[in-house]
């Protein structure tokens, strides 16, 4: 897709619920998690069980924002997320 492409169409609406046959089997996560960073890291851990987790013995919810960001930076590096 080039930078100069012209999108002519606008979207009104669309969709249908994710069918079970297309749903991955992932572990349930705490549903009341309100910290966006904690929720994001929990999802990354669930989706990529192969990644190495620093501070494994510390609860995510006990970490301050700075430590959470360090942990996320490390996970992103392992997963090649820029």
């Amino acid at each position: 897709m080039s930078k100069s492409r012209k999108h002519t169409e606008e979207l009104s609406c669309g969709g249908s619920r994710l069918p079970d046959r297309l749903r991955r089997t992932l572990p349930a996560l705490p549903s009341q998690q309100t910290n966006v960073l904690v929720k994001h890291i929990m999802r990354l851990k669930a989706m990529h069980p192969e990644i190495h987790i620093k501070f494994r013995d510390v609860q995510l919810t006990d970490m301050d924002e700075c430590t959470l960001q360090l942990l996320l930076d490390d996970l992103n590096e392992q997963l090649g997320i820029d």
Binding site: H7, L11, C13, G14, G15
Partner: protein
């Protein structure tokens, strides 16, 4: 940018200027008041009126559905006047159709406000609402290590919109609607173009 962006620029058509709209997480109560009542100007669930394919959708219920899984999100784009210009429910625990055994984000529901649609009004207010919502789903997919894959079921009238943004047919369908998927290379190109990831 290692986090989802907080806002996006929408084009206000009449003034030919950009307006910054915030991405806002939507709960059932907000959906009931700010989308169901305002978008169609009628009680939620009413089937009167416009003939638009989503005019019977009850966003309050869709947001309750979103709350049912820790892998789902309900988000909307809200302009400074407090109005939601579009909304989307998506799941981050989907399976890619084009690349089995890989993850993808799946867009369950997406819609723009009626006043932004050419099929509803001769002079829509904003453009790019659907595109910005969809781009947010692609960015979330990227940030979750799903390589930007986005899957969705397209209504016939929206096929061209999705194809223009790089979605490919998968040969699969959901409830008679063709399943499309945005593959990693096309998603990456879009996110680079939007300045959401670097070109390395």
């Amino acid at each position: 940018m290692t986090r989802l962006r907080a806002n996006a620029s929408l084009r206000h058509i009449r003034s030919d200027s950009d307006v910054i709209a915030d991405f806002v997480a939507i709960g059932p109560a907000v959906a009931a008041q700010e989308i169901d009542l305002r978008w169609w100007g009628m009680p939620p669930g009413s089937t009167h009126g416009t003939g638009e394919e989503d005019s019977h959708w009850v966003w309050q219920l869709l947001c309750e559905y979103a709350l049912g899984s820790s892998y789902r999100e309900a988000t909307g784009l809200r302009t400074p006047d407090g109005l939601f210009q579009g909304a989307m429910i998506y799941s981050t625990d989907a399976e890619s159709v084009l690349e089995p055994n890989s993850g993808a984000v799946y867009v369950d529901y997406i819609a723009t406000a009626p006043w932004n649609r050419r099929g509803v009004t001769d002079s829509p207010t904003y453009r790019a609402v659907g595109s910005e919502l969809l781009c947010q789903a692609a960015h979330h997919s990227h940030l979750l290590g799903l390589r930007g894959r986005v899957t969705l079921a397209s209504l016939p009238g929206a096929l061209r919109f999705y194809r223009e943004r790089g979605f490919l047919p998968t040969g699969d369908a959901v409830e008679g609607m063709p399943l499309l998927e945005l593959p990693p290379d096309r998603s990456r190109a879009w996110l680079i173009e939007k300045g959401l990831i670097g070109n390395v």
